[in-house]
Amino acid sequence: MKASHKAALAGFVVLAVAAAGCSSSSGGSSSDAKWKTATSAAGGGGMKALITAAKKEGTLNVIALPPTWANYGNIIKTFEAKYGITVNSALPDGTSQQEVDAVKSENGTAKAPDVLDVGMAVALVNTNLFAPYQVSTWSAIPASQKATNGVWVQDYGGYMAVGYSSKFGTITSLNDLLGKKFHNAVALNGNPTSANAALNGVMMASLAEGGSASSIANGVAFFHKLKQAGNFSPVSATGATIKAGTTPVVFNWDYLNLPSYVGVSNWKVFVPSNAVLGGYYAQAINKNAPHPAAARLWEEFLYSQAAAGGQNLWLEGGARPVEQPAMQSNGTINAAAAAKLPAVTGTPVFLSPTQATNAATYLSANWAKAIG
């Protein structure tokens, strides 16, 4: 009947690209050309000039930003209201890889994403697609969390946590999850060979089971035990499955595991003290952005320490903004929002790019065997 979905998809993409190619690309005025290559607001003529140029462009294309993820719904609304720029949000539930694919397939069209919010694994191998840019708060971002030229800059992050329905009482260790009452209850946020959050969920279990950031094997073994005990839920967790009660225990980033995010009041969050695994996403600007000034203004807004700036808005969404330490010292942080973050004790572990790649390679060979 049908050759395959892939084939059908390929045909669709071909048409979509052809259609996109027909639509007009934004006209390049002289001010556009200047902002296309500006590596800072000052370099392009200062903040005022940037705002004027961005307003003139009038539009910003963003991609893969779910409105309930890290407060993005609010962030987009605030940005639109503040600058009078329309934000086109494409493919809100897409993955980082799909963001990069869109940059490539829509390159040169007015629809191409201007800015990206991607996982580090995707950011590091696609730097040739990004424009270097340093926001005005550049010095407040720790050196280990940005590319030296600013082609990518980490934006917000959190710690891997176990969110669970309070009907289970209190969880104090991952091994509790092997108990009888968690039958069919424990879910990941996707397939770990595909989704970054799921990979980190397995890595967190690995750390808790005595593994190190260099080896995810213990985590895979833990999920194998969970599967043997009949406690692993094959249903991927989403806000809907949590609300419906289908996935009452979920491994996910803490900012996606808050009661306010999942919309369930009897929801608790647990970060094992021996397995504090941190992860940050990164911002990047498409080097061929159709709206180069708006893209740079968006970055300035996201890294702004103002009360209604991106950093505090992310914090209000339960995510930990990259400038949080600096904002705590200079007092610009929203203290009430910071106090609501789940308590974390122990030394956080961050995966290096090599460690993340090794984990993915191990998973591609072993995950199906452990869970199938």
Binding site: H5, T95, V122, N191, S194, V235, S236, A244, W367
Partner: protein, 288 residues
């Protein structure tokens, strides 16, 4: 009337001379353009890309990945799911089709079954998975068991939901094709019911039955959304792994690998549909 008059008074050659006649194949252009854009072009892209590597060079070893144990595992998963769901769906669907066909041909029951089958054969994907999730999921309304998450049996049960109605639709014409006269003739010649089915009914229906089973097989092979919504934390079947290869954000995305998997599926479908066409040709002899 004027046209008829012109043809009759012999003006036809002159007319054709004034306006160049349009060749007959022009009418097929929309069809072939459609097939070309949505079937042949994508298939060509898949085959072309599966022979290249990520840097654009020729890379025949890509195709050799089809022999790796992991890829074999996905294909075995696909075949298992397709075999179970098509065999089960065909058997149950054939019985149901026979039961309905042997009733009143203009009756309400038959009309009800045919329209219900028409609707349910198209009921798949996220909606179907969600319906089952709500009824027999981990905290389902009816059941809390977990056996239905076992691959491939549990998901085959869900696939049966659209496989059985499809079987009813495609197998009913074959049963309707069994003429009452043949039954009467065999009875006149002294055949028992068993002998009628053994020597007349079964040989007539076998090609149609096998052909319909192959169609169900191909139908299950291409189904993706249902299983992906039901359980997606692991890839059991080829389409799921293609999805992972296209969208992985942990560094495992590889378009060429996805193309190689898609190529494997194209080959599988080609084999299955060739078998279907051959059986269909044989079955059609009796359905005129």
């Amino acid at each position: 009337m004027a046209v008829a008059a012109t043809t009759q008074d012999g003006a036809r050659p002159a007319r054709a001379g004034r306006r160049p006649s349009v060749p007959g194949w022009v009418g097929t252009v929309p069809f072939f353009a459609y097939v070309g854009v949505f079937l042949l072009l994508p298939t060509g892209i898949v085959i072309w890309d599966s022979l290249r590597n990520t840097t654009g060079g020729w890379y025949l070893t890509s195709v050799s990945q089809l022999a790796s144990p992991q890829v074999r595992g996905y294909f075995i998963g696909s075949v298992k799911l397709c075999l179970i769901s098509s065999a089960g769906g065909a058997a149950l669907g054939a019985i149901l089709a026979y039961a309905v066909a042997s009733g009143n041909p203009d009756g309400a029951v038959r009309r009800l079954y045919i329209s219900a089958s028409g609707v349910l054969a198209q009921f798949g994907g996220v909606t179907l998975a969600f319906a089952f999730l709500v009824l027999i999921g981990p905290i389902g309304l009816l059941l809390h068991a977990s056996w239905y998450f076992d691959f491939p049996w549990g998901i085959s049960l869900i696939y049966a939901y659209f496989q059985i109605p499809l079987m009813v639709l495609v197998f009913m014409p074959a049963i309707d094709g069994l003429k009452v006269q043949w039954r009467e003739a065999s009875e006149n010649l002294g055949a028992s019911t068993w002998q009628y089915w053994r020597y007349v009914g079964a040989p007539l229906l076998t090609p149609a039955f096998l052909g319909a089973t192959l169609l169900l097989f191909a139908n299950a092979l291409s189904a993706f959304a249902t299983i992906q919504a039901w359980e997606n934390q692991i890839a059991y079947i080829v389409p799921q792994q293609i999805s992972t290869s296209l969208s992985s954000e942990v560094g495992l995305a590889n378009v060429n690998y996805a193309d190689v998997l898609a190529l494997g599926m194209v080959i599988m479908v080609a084999i299955v549909m060739t078998g279907y066409a051959l059986l269909q040709r044989r079955a059609a002899r009796w359905l005129r």
